[in-house]
Amino acid sequence: MPAKDAASAGAPPRYYGKGIPYLKDITLPGKLIVIEGPDGSGRSTQTALLKEWLESSGHAVLNVGLRRSDLVMSAIIEAKKGNLLGKTTLSLLYATDLADQLENRIIPAMRAGFVAIADRYIYTLMARDLVRGAGEEWLEKLFGFAVVPDLIFYLDARPDLLMHRAFAKYGQLDYWESGMDLGASGDMIEGFLRYQTVLRVRYKGLAEKYGFQVLDGSAEPEAIQRRLRKRVEDFFAESRPKGKGKG
């Protein structure tokens, strides 16, 4: 843990919307880096490599991701097994999971000066819900409690590539990732490609709106990591002099 005085530096949190009213008078000397992308885009590999590199350069790092909160995870897993949940319920369970991690892990880590690396953040939840018919404004306000990240990377990859990676990794296609809950198609391959195509369209919309840095997820992992590190390095160099804006 860094020394206590590290917490005295840093700016108050920037939230997307109304924020967390009772967490406004705090300062966050740490950073938040988000890595977004569909399943099979190489996120976890990149996250792990980035963490290793940041730690070797002396940063304290916390890894977070979706579906890691003890609060509602058992409910999500149970429900997904049997497809027992309505869309709004599932969406809100995911939002709960994210809020729990934000308040209990990400914000405390940032307060202590850590670099938090989030393997997916609100954007994946938004993209999924948008495909399922959620209103954009509803989602925007719902996730108004989220802290604005310092950097957002998006690993973009073609659906057919994602499909082959899914086969290589799991031996089969996932029910949800194939949009089966939407009845995208009776055929899983077609369902997967259609669902991932629509999801990609949504991600692209969000990329523009929220300022993602888009990286080609079909490149070699080492090449992607080099680009990633370069951008992170530039960001740290820029944000070092006091008073200079971030993000």
Partner: protein
């Protein structure tokens, strides 16, 4: 793109049924009144469905564990109750309403508006959270002076639960004192909602029978032009939480309705409403309560 027009999340729908809800502070007598209203409706042969706050089995286990460990912040407390509500809403509130039945709810979104804001959540954020829910036909707010409802609770329940007493807000180290302050904040929230939310205020200091007569008269007004659906089950339908019974989506034993339901709920637009606005632009304009 075909999948773009999927409907569902965050969208409200019109319904031919009737939704009657009760709200108010703990100890205001609203549950008793709703029970009596239910008996009366069933006695007349109306098919009635009933649901109460915080009762979804799916979410309940998580909520209970989290509450026990005091893991919840105001935001996650709010969200987890929204999950509970959404689960009941999507399974046992909206479907019967759309099928034309009467649904009675012991507490509705207004409980969240009052409690979550009392806990420090932003009022607009909470309202947006629940904006997928339809407006009730009738929303009864049981109003009593704070001392009355507080003493009713304290007499019947000597030990207050942690969240019930609002202990998470650090209002007072004494649970009873904390409970009183917390209920006061909640009551203030309710009072401010009566007008904008068009709640019907019921003076809860009166006798049970007098209140019930008033509720029945108001309810009868709203049922004047109500026609229960054909082939409706007899009175006293208790909807269980069995998703096989309640969630038509994707269930093969509803072969006849499957296509229709798939169309209405998942893909494209439909069928009975066909709003002219593109689906993902406006979620509030579709609000509608029964007359």
């Amino acid at each position: 793109m075909a999948l773009k027009k999927i409907r569902g999340l965050g969208l409200t729908k019109k319904y031919p049924g009737r939704l009657i809800i009760v709200e108010g502070c703990d100890g205001s007598g609203k549950s008793t009144q709703l029970h009596l209203l239910r008996v009366w409706l069933e006695h007349q042969g109306f098919p009635v469905f009933f649901t109460e706050w915080n009762s979804s089995e799916l979410v309940n286990a998580a909520t209970r564990r989290a509450k026990k460990k005091n893991l919840l912040t105001p935001t996650t407390f709010s969200l987890i109750h929204a999950c509970d509500f959404a689960d009941r809403y999507e399974k046992i509130i909206l479907p019967p309403l759309r099928a034309g039945y009467i649904v009675l709810a012991d507490r509705y979104v207004y409980t969240a508006y009052a409690r979550d804001v009392a806990r420090g959540c932003d009022p607009d954020w909470v309202r947006n959270l629940y904006s997928f829910a339809v407006k009730p036909t009738l929303g009864f707010y049981f109003h009593a002076p704070l001392e009355v409802s507080v003493s009713r609770i304290l007499v019947g329940r000597p030990t207050l639960k942690y969240h019930e007493a609002g202990m998470d807000l650090d209002l007072s180290p004494d649970p009873v004192e904390s409970f009183k302050i917390f209920q006061g904040i909640i009551k203030k929230q309710y009072d401010s909602m009566v007008k904008p939310e068009k709640l019907t205020r019921i003076d809860a200091t009166r006798s049970i029978t007098v209140m019930q007569d008033e509720m029945r008269a108001l309810t009868a007004d709203k049922l004047a032009d109500y026609v229960p659906p054909d082939n409706s089950p007899g009175p006293g339908v208790r909807i269980t939480h069995d998703p096989d019974l309640n969630d038509l989506r994707g269930e093969s034993h509803f072969e006849d309705v499957e296509d229709l339901d798939e169309t209405a709920d998942d893909m494209e637009m439909d069928v009975d409403e066909a709003p002219e606005v593109p689906l993902d632009t406006d979620e509030s304009s579709d609000y509608s309560s029964a007359p």
